[in-house]
Structure formats: structure tokens, C-alpha cells
Symmetry: C2
Subunit: 249 residues, 2 copies
């Protein structure tokens, strides 16, 4: 058994560095925490090595490192150190499909993770992250996806340029606007669409929002100025998925 | 100007104690952080005193304390100390109405705050918190409500007993169940209803769930086992509100 006991071990240092985006980008890999996510990464063939609590029995054939509880605590971002971690290679981009979610300048990692989970639930095939959005491989994003990051295509684009490409290819590009949008229920959805969601406080960047060719809103009471971004995205993706079902029938 | 400069000042100690539920319950008041929430509390007549950064000008007629930045940092739970805090008295319970949301054992304060915000958006009139739910006056709950805590009636009950009372009074009591519920779209909603939502990991307590007289689910893709609780609640409240509108027409 390959047991690491020193926090100064080169591997421990390498794993700790994966907490920073800069190092993740340089190495092309990221850290995964907890059994559920680790097993999902192995299933999806992206796990490179597994880091195990010294008491853990792990029968899967993969590079394994055993570490002390102290080292586990040093590497993990979780309050309660998990029984296992893994290093995984970043998930390669695939060509985008017909049902897209575009995300502009979203900042909260929990929101991004939740939106990824919701996107899988409502059959979005590709999520497109704009340049100012929180890093996909942030540990809090990964946790909030509940492992569903491996079940959807996620790509990065300059949204200003990408929306033009989508419109040239006949996509309906949908933004939210309470003033001149239509009730989401009344939208006549095309078979190729991209819905765009923005920052928690400021919404979608104006230059990008102006490029949409359709606008919708969710009707709410007057007392509530706006919904939480993950909730609003959930409701809209739910409605778009229902409409898609009707179109296909 | 009543400027407090010592962290050992009795008022500073009193304000710091309001971070604990036990002390909030004993005193019947809670701490509010940041201008938006403070002004909302004053508007709703629940603010008792305001704690201001020494550089702040605050023309409203209310008991004021000025404190140094160091003290502000000591009292606040926010990373960036706000310009103002307030102590407010707990919001009194009112009789419950026709459109209820019951919450059982919800643990994450951000989720509870978001659900309160969403409930206001979709015209729920009363939120009923079960006994094992995170404290309403937790600072993270308050922040996530975005001030909407003052726009909805929130009461506490033993849900086991309360559901019986609701059923005796002709309420439709709705739980979620993927196995024998109906698609939320197909629900024939009564004019008096209570929807119940549960814990992040375990859902609603089985004994309570068994007492519902109606079950619904949100159709999702097979890849996604469950939605985030705040997102799921958002979609269901959105659907119930739409149905309510139709019933009233």
C-alpha cells in the first residue's frame, strides 16, 4: 500500500494546487471530492487517480494513493474530510446541439452547479459558459451539480460572437425582459433554441441581451422584484422542455 | 453622536449574542444586515434600533448607535462590513390563509431564504415551518429572502398535527412523489391548498408525507434523479399560482 504520511510530499502539494483555477487550467485537470462524484468520474472515464483515506478498501483498478486523515483534511475543501478524492481530466467539449443554455457572468458557484443539474433534468444538450462566469471546475460548482456535470456537454465561448453564429444558423435566441418580453407560457418555441441567463445582481450584459431575437418573462406578484437566478432558470427550462415535448409530438 | 469605540461595550456584546438562535428566541429579536434589509425593516415597523458605521448619515428618526469599523466587523456575519445593521423584533404570526407552503426539516439557510422569496413571487400567503427546519432568523436565511421575509406570513407548527387540522378544514394537502403522484401539470387544484416540501437529502418525513391527500411530481429526464429543493419548490409554486389564476377566472 502506497501510504503518504508527509504533508510535504510532492503529490500532496500537487493536489492542493488544484484548488486554484490557474493551476487547473495549466494542468488540464481538477479535483473531485466524495464517493458519489469520484465513482461517477470513474464511470465516465475521466478519473486519473484516486486519493483514499488509509482505512478505505477500493477494489477498482485505477492508480491509488492512500493518505492520512491529516493530509485528507489538508487537500479537501469539505468540512468533514471525505473517504476519497480523485484527480480527473477536464471534460472535452463536444459539438453543440439544438437545445442550448447560455450563461453570462454568473458568479455564485452554487448557482452554476444547480443550473447544470437542472439543465440535465430538462434535456438541455449543451451549456455555453461566457467568459466572465465562475470556473466550472470550482469545487462548490462540482458539488452542487450532484455528479451531473458528466451528463451534459459544457463549452466555453465569447457569447457576443457566439450569439451571431447561432442566429446565422437559425436558432431562436431567448433572453429575459420584464418590460417587453412575452409571458414564457405564450412563447412559440423553435426546434433550435438558446436561452440566455445572466449575473445574480445585474442579469445579462446589455450588449449581449440586445442581440437576442426573443424575450420572455415569468409572471410574478408585484411584491417580488426578481427571482433567484437558479429558480428562474429552473422555471424557464421546465417550460421550454414541456414546449419541446409538444413540438415533437 | 453616540459613538461606541470599545468592543467590550455592553451593547456590542448584546448584538453579537443575537447571532445565536438561543439568544434570539430569549430576546424575541434578531439582527438585520445591510442597507436594503434595514430600510425594509424600518418600513415594516419592526426595527428597534439601528447600528451605523461612524461615517454614515442617517436621517430617519429611530434609536441610533454609531460604531467603529472594527466593531462593525465584529458584529456582522458579512465578509465586507456593511454601513448599517439593525435590531428588529420578531415578526408576529397572523392567521393562515388559503395558499400555504409547509416546510419540513429543511436545513440549508440559503434554500429557506430563496424559498421565502419564491413564495412571495407566486402568491403563497402563509409559510408554515415544521419543528426541524433551520431558524428563520438565521442571517443567511434573511439575506437570501432579499427583504421579502416582511411580505409574507410565516408561522411555526408541529406539521404532524397541523396537516390533520388542514384536512379537517377541507384543504388539499399536496406532497411530491415520483412513483404514485400525478404530473404537476395535471393536478386539479382546490381553492384551499397546502404544498409540503422537505429536507435537501431525504425529502419530507415519511409519517408526514403519508398524511397528504394528493401527490404530484415534476417530469424530468432519467439522468437526473432529483432537482435542487429550491428549484423544485419554485417550479411547483409557479404551476400552482398559474392554476390558481385559472380557478379565479
Amino acid at each position: 500500500m502506497n501510504l503518504i504520511t508527509s504533508v510535504d510530499n510532492a503529490n500532496v502539494k500537487r493536489w492542493c494546487k488544484l484548488k486554484s483555477k490557474k493551476y487547473r487550467d495549466k494542468e488540464g485537470c481538477f479535483l473531485i471530492e466524495g464517493e458519489h462524484l469520484v465513482l461517477e468520474a470513474i464511470k465516465q472515464n475521466v478519473a486519473l487517480e484516486v486519493i483514499l483515506d488509509s482505512e478505505e478498501i477500493f477494489p477498482i483498478d485505477i492508480t491509488k494513493y492512500y493518505v492520512t486523515k491529516e493530509i485528507m483534511r489538508k487537500i479537501t475543501s469539505l468540512e468533514t474530510p471525505p473517504a476519497m478524492l480523485a484527480v480527473a481530466k477536464k471534460i472535452p467539449e463536444k459539438p453543440y446541439g439544438k437545445k442550448l443554455l447560455l450563461i453570462d457572468s454568473l458568479q455564485d458557484p452554487g448557482n452554476l452547479g444547480t443550473i447544470i443539474r437542472t439543465s440535465v433534468a430538462f434535456n438541455i444538450d449543451t451549456i455555453v459558459l461566457g467568459e466572465n462566469t465562475v470556473d466550472l471546475y470550482n469545487e462548490k460548482v462540482l458539488r452542487a451539480t450532484q455528479g451531473l456535470i458528466f451528463h451534459i456537454n459544457i463549452i466555453k465561448r465569447d457569447l457576443n460572437v457566439f450569439i451571431d453564429e447561432l442566429k446565422d444558423n437559425g436558432y431562436m435566441v431567448i433572453g429575459t425582459n420584464v418590460n417587453y418580453g412575452s409571458d414564457i407560457q405564450e412563447l412559440n418555441l423553435h426546434d433550435k433554441y438558446a436561452f440566455i441567463m445572466g449575473n445574480e445582481g445585474n442579469g445579462v450584459n446589455k450588449a449581449i441581451l440586445d442581440k437576442c431575437n426573443n424575450y420572455v418573462y415569468i409572471p410574478t406578484s408585484d411584491a417580488c422584484e426578481s427571482l433567484n437566478v437558479a429558480v428562474a432558470t429552473g422555471i424557464i427550462l421546465y417550460e421550454l422542455d414541456k414546449k419541446g415535448d409538444i413540438n415533437e409530438k
